[in-house]
Amino acid sequence: MTELGKIIQETKAYYCLECGICTGSCPISRYDSTYSPRLMVERALLLPEANTIEDEHVWSCLTCGTCGSRCPSAIEYRGFTRLVRDVARGRGLEGVCTHAGTIQAMMELQTTNLFEKDLSWIGEDLKVSKTGEYYYFIGCLPQFEAIFKELHFDGKEHARSTIKVLNRLGIEPVVSSQEKCCGHDFYWSGQFEGFKELARYNLEVIKKSKADKIVFSCPEGYAAFKQIYPELFGKLKFEVLHITELIAAKIKKGGFDLGEVGCKVTYQDPCRLGRFSGIYEEPREILKSIPGLELIEMPRNRKEAVCCGSSTWINCSRVNKRIQLERLKEAQKTGAEILITACPKCKIHLSCALKDNDLDEKVEIKDLNVLLAESLGGKDIA
C-alpha cells in the first residue's frame, strides 16, 4: 500500500459521498476557487499519489475543522491534511513560510539546547513559584511579542494578565524558563519528529515542577497537551486545564468578583478551544459575569465560528486576508466596541487584517485575560 493509501485507510476518506459540504464550508474555498477539500479527497482516491502529495494546496488548509465538524461521512479532513503534510515534508516539500520563516526558525531553535526563556518581565507584583500544584504554560507569548511589534501584540501582557487572574484564584503558578514550544504548529505542519522531541522535553520540565495541574491561556498549547500528547505518551500524569475552565468553575462556586467594565463586546471562538475542545460556554459565562459588559454574538458563533484565517505560519495570502476582513466586518456589524479573543494567534492574525484600508471602522481586539485583569484591577476601559 502507498503512503497515501494508508492515510486514506486511517482517515476513512473512502467514505466520502462527494456531497460538497466540506468545500461549501471551507473558509479558503470561499475566496480561492482553486482550493477544494472535496476535490483533494477525490484526487487522493482516484489519481496517482503524487497528485495529492505534491499539490501545493496541501499547505492551504487552515486545519480549522469546520468541514470535519459538518462532514456527513465523519471524515476528519484536518487529520487527512496533517498526514499528507507529513509525507510531503518527508519528500522535501513544504508550504510558503510566512514572516520569512522567522517563526519556523524559532521553533527549530527550541529543539536544540540553545534556548531558555527570559521570565524577568513577570515582575515582582505577581506571585509565581518554582514547584507547586499548578503549572502555567506560558508558551510562545513573549516570543510573539518580539516578532509582532508592529502589530502592538502584547504577548507578555497576556501572560501577566493570566498570572494575575490565577493569583486572584488563589493560585501561585509554577512558571519555568526551561519550557519550550508546545509543538502544536510542528504537528499540524507535518513535522512530527520535531513535535515529538518538544513534547518529550516539555513533559520532563513539568515532571520536575511536581505540578499535577497544568494551566494554559493559549488554546493551541491546551489542545496539543489535551489531545495530542496522550496519543503519543498515553494518559498524562497531570490534569490539563484551560484558564477559562478554572475561572468559570470558580464563578459558578461564587467568590470571584469582577469589576465593572462598561462596554459591548463580541467573542471570537478559537478553533482549538471551540471545535477542537468543545469549550464554548466557559468564556461566555466569564464575559457575562463582568458587570456592565454586554456580550453580543456574531451570527456565526460556537461550532460555526469562522477561523481567524491563518494557521501554522504557512501559506498566508490575499485569500487569508479576505477571510479575516469578512470576520472583522461580521464582528463590527454586531455593534460591539471590542472583539474578545481567547487565543494569541486569533489576536495576531485579526490585528494584522485590521490594518486594511477597506475597513471603515476599526473594532478593538483584546485578549480575554487582559480584559479580566483590567476588570479585576477595577480599571475602567470603556
Binding site: 459521498l17 456531497c19 461549501g24 476557487s33 451570527p299
Partner: protein
C-alpha cells in the same frame, strides 16, 4: 382513515395509552388507559360551537407545528377520526381556576362532562400490531442551518402546514419574518439524514416530498422559483423518476447537486445558502426568500417505552427490530410491526407492510380459534 372509523369490526381507541402488555402469542392482555376528554364521545357531533366560544385562545397548536394557536377545547385536526372535541386540561380555564364552563353552556348536545375520569380497559387479544409512525429530527442542533435563529428557515412539516389550505395561512406561502409571500424557495435535502454524526440512514421520503412541495409552490404562485439541493436524488421505483423529470420540465425546479454547507442571513432576513455545486466545482451563495429543511425521520417519541412494555427489541437507531423472512415479525411471537416504526418507508410501502402485518396477525388469531374449536 375514514374506512377504519366506519368499519364494524374495528374498535378505535384514540386518545388512549398502552400501559401493560402481558401474556403470549394468541392470548395477550393489554391494559389501556383511555384518557378523559371531558366530552362524551357518544354524544359529541363535532359541530365546533364549543371551540368557537372557548375563551382560552393561546394554546400553541401541535398539529399546525405551533404556527398558530388553538383553543383549550379542540379537535386535533379537522379531518381527524374520531371527530370528537377534547378539553386540554392543562390549558382549560375551568380546570385551572375553577371558573368558566363556557363550552358546557354553548354545547347544544350536552356533551361536556367535567366529571369524566380516565378509564382503564383490559383487552384480551390474540396478536398485537405496532404502527406508531415517526418523528422528525429537531434541526436546531445543526446550528449551521440556523433553524430557530433565522426566521425564514423552516422544516418540511412547517412548510406543509403553510401550503395547506386548512393551515394557518390558508395555503399561502408566507414568510415567518414579515408575512410576505415567498417567491424563491430552497429545499435542502439530507438534514441529519445520511449523516454518520446524526442519522446514518436515508430518510427515504424527502426527495419525493420536496419535489412535491416545489410543485405545490409553483401551482400556488406561477412566479415562484424552486431550488432543490441534494446529495443524490433517491427517487427510486417505477414512477418516481418520472416525477422528478416532470418537476424539472413542467415546473422548472432547479436541481442542484451539492449539500448546503451553511445558511446566513441578509438585512431583509432573507436566508443565504452557501454550497458547492459539485457538478461545476464552484462554491456559491444564493439568496432566497425561504429555506425548507428536509429533516431526518427518527423513531417516534415514546417508542422506547412502548418497546419495553411489549418486550420487543429495537435496532441500533431505535426503530422496532424486525427481520427476514417475515419483515413485519418482531422479536416477540404474536407481535408485529409495520410502517415507519420499523424504518423509513413511503406510503405505498407502509400500506403493503400493514397488509402483511394484518395477515400475519390473522394467522395467529385464526390458529387460536381453530384450536379452541377442536
Amino acid at each position: 382513515m375514514l374506512d377504519v372509523g366506519r368499519h364494524p369490526n374495528i374498535n378505535m381507541l384514540a386518545y388512549s395509552e398502552v400501559k401493560e402488555v402481558n401474556g403470549e402469542v394468541g392470548n395477550f392482555t393489554v391494559k389501556i388507559n383511555k384518557k378523559a376528554r371531558y366530552v362524551k364521545e357518544e354524544v359529541c357531533n363535532a359541530c365546533g360551537d364549543c371551540i368557537a366560544k372557548c375563551p382560552m385562545k393561546k394554546v400553541p397548536d401541535e398539529f399546525d407545528m405551533k404556527l398558530r394557536n388553538r383553543k383549550a377545547i379542540y379537535l386535533y385536526f379537522s379531518q381527524g377520526i374520531p371527530a370528537i372535541a377534547t378539553i386540554d386540561k392543562e390549558h382549560c380555564i375551568y380546570f385551572q381556576t375553577g371558573k368558566c364552563r363556557v363550552c358546557e353552556k354553548f354545547c347544544q348536545k350536552g356533551a361536556i362532562d367535567f366529571e369524566q375520569q380516565d378509564q382503564t380497559l383490559n383487552l384480551n387479544v390474540g396478536a398485537v400490531i405496532l404502527a406508531t409512525g415517526f418523528d422528525l429530527l429537531d434541526p436546531s442542533g445543526l446550528t449551521q442551518y440556523g433553524y430557530g435563529r433565522i426566521k425564514n428557515v423552516i422544516t418540511g412539516l412547517e412548510y406543509e402546514r403553510l401550503i395547506n389550505a386548512t393551515g394557518p395561512t390558508g395555503g399561502h406561502l408566507l414568510r415567518r419574518s414579515d408575512e410576505k409571500s415567498a417567491k424563491r424557495v430552497a429545499y435542502l435535502q439530507c438534514i441529519g439524514s445520511r449523516d454518520l454524526n446524526n442519522c446514518s440512514y436515508c430518510s427515504h421520503v424527502c426527495c419525493m416530498y420536496s419535489i412535491k412541495d416545489a410543485m405545490l409552490a409553483k401551482e400556488h404562485d406561477p412566479d415562484s422559483v424552486s431550488y432543490i439541493f441534494h446529495t443524490d436524488l433517491r427517487n427510486v421505483g417505477k414512477w418516481f423518476q418520472k416525477y422528478e423529470i416532470r418537476g424539472k420540465e413542467e415546473y422548472g425546479i432547479n436541481f442542484i447537486r451539492g449539500r448546503v454547507a451553511e445558511i446566513t442571513e441578509d438585512e431583509e432576513q432573507n436566508p443565504i445558502v452557501w454550497y458547492e455545486d459539485t457538478n461545476t466545482h464552484e462554491v456559491r451563495s444564493r439568496t432566497v426568500d425561504m429555506v425548507v429543511l428536509a429533516t431526518a425521520a427518527i423513531p417516534s417519541k415514546g417508542i422506547k417505552e412502548l418497546a419495553k412494555l411489549v418486550g420487543v427489541k429495537t435496532d441500533e437507531y431505535g426503530f422496532i427490530k424486525t427481520g427476514l423472512p417475515f419483515p413485519t415479525d418482531t422479536s416477540v411471537a404474536g407481535v408485529f410491526a409495520c410502517g415507519f416504526c420499523i424504518a423509513p418507508a413511503d406510503i405505498p410501502e407502509s400500506v403493503a407492510q400493514a397488509s402483511a402485518a394484518a395477515s400475519r396477525a390473522a394467522e395467529v388469531v385464526f390458529a387460536r380459534k381453530a384450536k379452541k374449536r377442536a
